[in-house]
């Protein structure tokens, strides 16, 4: 009886909106200094101390797990491995799973879902009444109002130095930042809504001009901190992707309104 009571209480906890809310944290409004310094058409050099306002938003505390994504594809059959359209995901989609609706083992349930395309990540967030964070939001959340940036850099560099592991380990075990967000670095790369904007060519901004940013070395002159190697890695990785791409260490988390 006591056991049954506890089970009912646990079920209530899982079902309650308050418990669902605790999956995300509020990131307060503020200003973000973009990593990329865009040179306006006709300007001699990129803007120097430009910041952009970021309204408050919610961001999932941890990356989306296999268990959560499994619940999504169970309900939305069109996003299963065997049914997804090639337009929306490449051939490696959810390849770490045993099949459409079977994980390798129970431990995988709490590991971050990977091998999901941008389209699939976006569909998952939509189904939760959420959305993917913009790149600005994600980077602003990582910047954490300047807190713990040495730690973020240290974790990032250690992560880059390690070969890809067969298993990723559970979400929630990594560094927790000042907003309460966990595993922003060190576990998986993460999709953002506008992941590809950094890759826009100089010609896109100035199609008829001879833009110095198009040449080797120009890129380093157009970023906030040329020594921020982890940031280069994040933006370069995102820029290399197509929306249907999947990768063994690429996951996502969702955002929403505060």
């Amino acid at each position: 009886m006591r056991g049954a009571g506890w089970a009912a209480f646990a079920a209530l906890l899982v079902a309650s909106p308050a418990a669902a809310e605790s999956r995300s944290a509020v990131v307060p409004a503020g200003f973000y200094a973009p990593f990329e310094r865009v040179k306006a058409v006709g300007a001699a050099s990129p803007a120097t101390e430009e910041t952009v306002p970021v309204p408050a938003f919610r961001l999932d505390v941890t990356p989306v797990t296999n268990g959560e994504f499994l619940a999504f594809v169970t309900e939305h059959a069109e996003w299963r491995r065997s049914t997804i359209k090639p337009l929306l995901a490449d051939a490696h989609y959810l390849r770490r799973w045993t099949d459409d609706l079977t994980l390798v083992d129970e431990a995988q349930r709490n590991e971050p879902v990977t091998n999901v395309s941008w389209f699939a990540a976006r569909a998952y967030c939509r189904a939760q009444g959420k959305r993917l964070p913009t790149t600005t939001e994600w980077e602003y959340a990582l910047a954490d109002a300047g807190r713990g940036q040495d730690e973020v850099r240290r974790i990032s560099l250690e992560w880059f130095a390690k070969p890809n592991a067969q298993r990723l380990g559970p979400v929630g075990a990594g560094y927790r930042n000042g907003y309460g967000l966990v595993d922003m670095v060190g576990l998986v790369w993460e999709w953002t809504l506008d992941y590809d904007v950094f890759a826009m060519s100089a010609e896109t901004r100035d199609p008829n001009g001879k833009d110095a940013a198009a040449f080797c070395g120009g890129a380093a002159a157009g970023v906030r901190d040329p020594n921020d190697y982890p940031a280069f890695m994040r933006f370069s990785l995102r820029a290399s992707l197509k929306a249907s791409d999947t990768a063994d260490n690429l996951g996502f988390r969702c955002a929403g309104n505060p």
Partner: protein, 197 residues
């Protein structure tokens, strides 16, 4: 004997129908998995008529994205599309549709798109100017490999890509950047049409 002949005729009819049903661009056939027409978004054209991209199935489609307030790049993109249209062989022109999809749905209302279409003097029975919600625009842009973002000038930084869709909505060719002449695009279109015949 008559019954046998009728049965043969019926079998032939069924066989011909079956062949016709799997012809590329046939609305009754399943879409290929990488067809853009798998994106099920609802758009609105320059006349305020709601439609899905799949309505163009069965035609070769020249599609580009941009916005009407765009100062330089979009007029050049449309100019390339106009060049293609002007150089189409007469028998091919009826099988080709042109679509310009706005990335600025808040400002590019159907009347604005209509004025844009009229300014270029295009044949609006074959040219469609579309606006939709932000999500639909983002999805289509990603499927086409078209990159865009708002800039500080109130416009957009964006790619210049003109895509050729086959009769089933699969990308057959893409021209990256604007060109003095889109001869390569035109050649691809002619080749595609010949292979479809």
């Amino acid at each position: 004997m008559i019954a046998r002949a009728a049965a043969l005729c019926l079998a032939a009819f069924v066989a011909i129908s079956a062949i016709a049903a799997v012809r590329a661009g046939d609305a009754a056939a399943p879409l290929p998995g990488d067809s853009l027409y798998n994106l099920d978004a609802l758009w609105t054209n320059q006349d305020g008529v709601p439609l899905k991209l799949s309505r163009m199935r069965g035609k070769f489609v020249v599609v580009a994205m941009g916005y009407t307030n765009c100062p330089d790049l979009c007029p050049a993109i449309v100019a390339d599309m106009l060049w293609i249209d002007a150089h189409l062989p007469r028998d091919l022109a009826a099988r080709v549709r042109f679509a310009f999809v706005s990335i600025d749905p808040k400002r590019d209302t159907p009347p604005k798109l209509k004025a844009f279409a009229e300014a270029f003097g295009v044949d609006q029975t074959r040219w469609t100017f579309l606006t939709g919600d932000d999500d639909s625009v983002r999805d289509l842009a990603e499927a086409l490999g078209f990159r865009y973002r708002r800039n500080a000038q109130g416009g957009f930084d964006h790619s210049a890509i003109i895509s050729l869709l086959d009769e089933d909505g699969e990308i057959a060719f893409q021209q990256n950047g604007v060109a003095a002449s889109s001869q390569e695009f035109l050649s691809k279109l002619e080749t595609l049409a010949q292979s479809a015949d």
